[in-house]
């Protein structure tokens, strides 16, 4: 399952809706023992586009790390791809598919683009 994080506004209900959707998709994937990849904006991990998008992005990153722990006992993986604003979306999707297909990497954050260099580690 590859899930691209929704862009949200500042209303709590909208934020909760985005997180709930990710939870439901993840639970379905986990029940089917399928791997999970969340795709989100690097800017949002740093809180640069407002609290709503930041809460969704960092919430998904933490959830992926927890899912990775649970999946490792069953043979499925959970990872996150974060991309810079100007990144080629097809290349981002290709990274997500690669993470989905290989069972070797789990609980990881892969950054597409240099936007994270010199910034905080999420």
């Amino acid at each position: 399952m590859i899930h691209w994080a929704e862009q949200v506004g500042e209303s709590w209900q909208e934020i909760l809706g985005a997180l709930t959707q990710a939870f439901e998709l993840s639970r379905t994937a986990a029940q089917a023992e399928q791997s999970i990849v969340f795709v989100l904006r690097q800017d949002d991990l740093l809180g640069r586009r407002g609290p709503g998008n930041a809460m969704v992005a960092t919430g998904l990153l933490s959830a992926a790390r927890t899912a990775a722990l649970e999946g490792s006992r069953k043979g499925w993986t959970a990872n996150v791809v974060a991309y810079d604003e100007d990144a080629d979306r097809e290349k981002v999707q290709a990274w997500a598919e690669m993470l989905l297909e290989t069972g070797d990497v789990t609980g990881e954050l892969v950054r597409v683009g240099p936007g994270h260099v010199g910034k905080t580690l999420p």
């Binding site: 909760l16 997180l19 939870f23 609290p51 930041a54 809460m55 998904l60 933490s62 992926a64």
Partner: protein, 232 residues
Amino acid sequence: MTGAVVVTGAARGIGRAIAEKLAETGPITVIGVDVAPELALSEHVTPVQVDLTSPDGPSIVRETVEAADVPLVGLVNNAGITRDARLVNMTDEDFAAVLEVNLGAAYRLANELAPSMSDGGSIVNIASRAYLGNFGQFNYSMSKGGLVGMTRAMALSLAPAVRVNAVAPGLISSEMSMGIPEEVRDKMVAAIPLDRMGTPEEIANTVWWLLTPLSSYITGEVIVVGGGRSLS
């Protein structure tokens, strides 16, 4: 540091220790949301009993701050719950309950209070080391990770007037951790380089430091207080 500090989840554990530390080190008025009865007797504590997930919960806290008639210098978003289950078994209700209390209430309260905070004010969000991932806590981990993102975004939007940071406690001796089966808890302690659980007072000390001008050049950070567990 003088003025009022709002502390949520102040009835027990970490929140209570934070409220006690602030009340002892004043001159501070602690606005304690869901505060311990003994602590409510302190002349430095103004108790508020409110459901922070209710639509008018945050505004009731703001009105209490206004009635105290002292500058609002701090907010500690501490209230939190757990509803643990493996992801495959997690119910919609348990997911929503944890997100509403741990993240939604903190977000709505910070939005309500931030506009009235004094220059030099400080918000501290109590996250958890579980934001790095923790088995059986998809909901809790997501909520605490969300708090980290909220911390970073608000640190940017409220600068330079107000600083916003997070503290991520590891395994702390509290009512919440006492609910973990003893044999599991022993294994968890064995994995901590400092070879013990932390105390609520050790978290309170870190929070207090982040509330004071001693940390005046720090914003948008997450400080893990976990005895080195993130390394082992």
